[in-house]
């Protein structure tokens, strides 16, 4: 404990430094969410496809990625991202730690989101699909106008609570050398030898964001049995 360093946490310049870290954390989370929503939807639809050539690879990818530690993916793509792409894009190809980490985090998140989306779609009554088909809607239109709008409402609480997991996991991207909230605490405490104070400070910031999100998710889910079942499909992936 270094009580003599407490003034650091009210110093406007240092607070600005932490705010920069927080901004990066939110940026990493936002990038990961955008990428994994697209990829997750594609994986979910492929996994529920009638074509075995789509269904089997998608099932394999989702199950394998969900069974890997997210930190392994972040380390691998964050550090080795460039050399992975070089055989395909030439020796000049370079991925920054930031984007490598985002890719690792997004891959894991898209596997989880694929499970959320699949659970959401499967929890709709079959009659919805049948009615849409009977009305002559083709597959993309049925998804766009009938299935996804209804399923999305059921997925919102599960996605919100996945969001808290993503925000916590961005600290792992910091661990491979990307500047973000946890990294900013690390920089402060390696210079001032006050890990207790600095880590508690960022822990409180993480807590406020994640607590608000998880309360919101719980509020939205309240009394909605189907939404609860959608979230239970990924319960194991949200212990991270």
């Amino acid at each position: 404990m270094r009580p003599d360093t407490w003034h650091l946490f009210v110093d406007p310049d240092i607070l600005k430094f932490f705010a920069g870290g927080l901004g990066q954390t939110l940026l990493i989370s936002a990038a990961a969410i955008v990428i994994s929503c697209v990829l997750g939807l594609a994986l979910a639809l492929a996994r529920m496809s009638r074509a075995a050539l789509l269904r089997w690879p998608a099932t394999f990818v989702v199950e394998v990625i969900r069974a890997l530690p997210v930190y392994l993916l972040i380390v691998y793509f964050g550090i080795k991202g460039s050399s992975l792409g070089q055989p395909f894009f030439g020796p000049e190809f370079d991925v920054s730690r930031f984007w490598g980490g985002v890719i690792g985090l997004s891959l894991y998140t898209s596997a989880v989101l694929a499970e959320i989306i699949r659970a959401g779609i499967l929890s709709l009554p079959r009659g919805q699909t049948e009615a849409a088909r009977a009305l002559g809607l083709n597959y993309p239109r049925m998804m766009r106008w009938i299935i996804l709008p209804q399923a999305l409402r059921l997925m919102v609480p599960a996605m919100m609570s996945q969001l808290t997991t993503i925000i916590k996991d961005t600290s792992l991207v910091g661990q491979i050398g990307v500047f973000e909230l946890y990294r900013s605490a690390r920089i402060i405490y390696t210079q001032n030898f006050n890990p207790i104070e600095a880590l508690l400070f960022v822990a409180v910031i993480y807590f406020v964001i994640c607590f608000v999100l998880s309360q919101l998710s719980r509020r939205l889910e309240l009394g909605n049995q189907t939404a609860r079942r959608v979230r239970e499909a990924v319960l194991r992936d949200q212990v991270a």
């Binding site: 530690p69 916590k168 890990p195 880590l199 991270a240």
Partner: protein
């Protein structure tokens, strides 16, 4: 041969010993989190409000902050306030990781056990109390045993996640599975093989576990 790199360091046994350390970390910190989690769950359902506040504060704090921050907090913070896990540095790192993993997952365990306790029919509790059992006797003989069945599958889910989360122990210098991969990669520069081997070994741990949990879930559902 894919995965052949696992056996290429026979003098060091890096991958086998890393795997063994991962298994040790998982099992011991699971046991720790079951003990702490049960205590916190009892706090969460206690008849006295201050106990419930303590339980809620624990669960919400540990669930809503990153495990990585908690691990580093223990790793750097504990010695500064006079807690030394061990004088041996390797043992120190290992024990810090054990404690960090146990405390973090205890919050999730507590929520599962609390759900199980609240799921027991209230008439059971009233009947036990009116038969003259004390509150602790009622917990011991009526409420805890009856909640046992419903908490097993979700606890299995937490264990699956716990095995994956042990990979964070490498950040505080525990030579577990991911650490073995990092060491081999830095020696050989064969990243795809080294991390591929790590991934295969994690899959070998996690996939059977997840399948087992799924099977249990279905079996207990049918039996109910």
């Amino acid at each position: 041969m894919p995965g052949g790199i696992i056996f290429e360091f026979p003098d060091q046994y890096l991958f086998p010993s890393g795997l063994w350390l991962t298994v040790q970390l998982s099992v011991v910190s699971l046991l720790g989190s079951l003990v702490v989690g049960t205590v916190i769950a009892l706090f969460r359902v206690a008849p006295l409000a201050p106990f419930r506040w303590v339980g809620t504060a624990y669960v919400e704090f540990f669930r809503n902050t990153p495990l990585l921050v908690q691990l580093f907090f223990l790793f750097f913070g504990a010695p500064l306030i006079g807690i030394r896990f061990s004088t041996d540095p390797f043992e120190f790192n290992f024990r810090a990781a054990l404690l960090g993993l146990a405390l973090y997952h205890a919050a999730y365990v507590a929520e599962v056990i609390r759900g199980g306790l609240l799921g027991v029919d209230h008439g059971q509790i009233e009947a036990a109390r009116s038969l003259g059992l004390s509150y602790t006797q009622m917990l011991r003989y009526i409420q805890l045993p009856q909640s046992f069945r419903s908490v097993i599958p979700p606890l299995g889910n937490i264990f699956t996640a716990l095995v994956k989360n042990t990979s964070l122990a490498t950040t505080i210098g525990v030579a577990e599975l991911l650490n073995a991969g990092e060491v081999v990669e830095s020696r050989t520069f064969r990243a795809i093989e080294a991390y591929g081997a790590v991934a295969l070994l994690y899959l070998a741990l996690v996939l059977p576990l997840a399948a087992g949990v799924n099977w249990l879930e279905r079996k207990l559902q049918v039996a109910r």
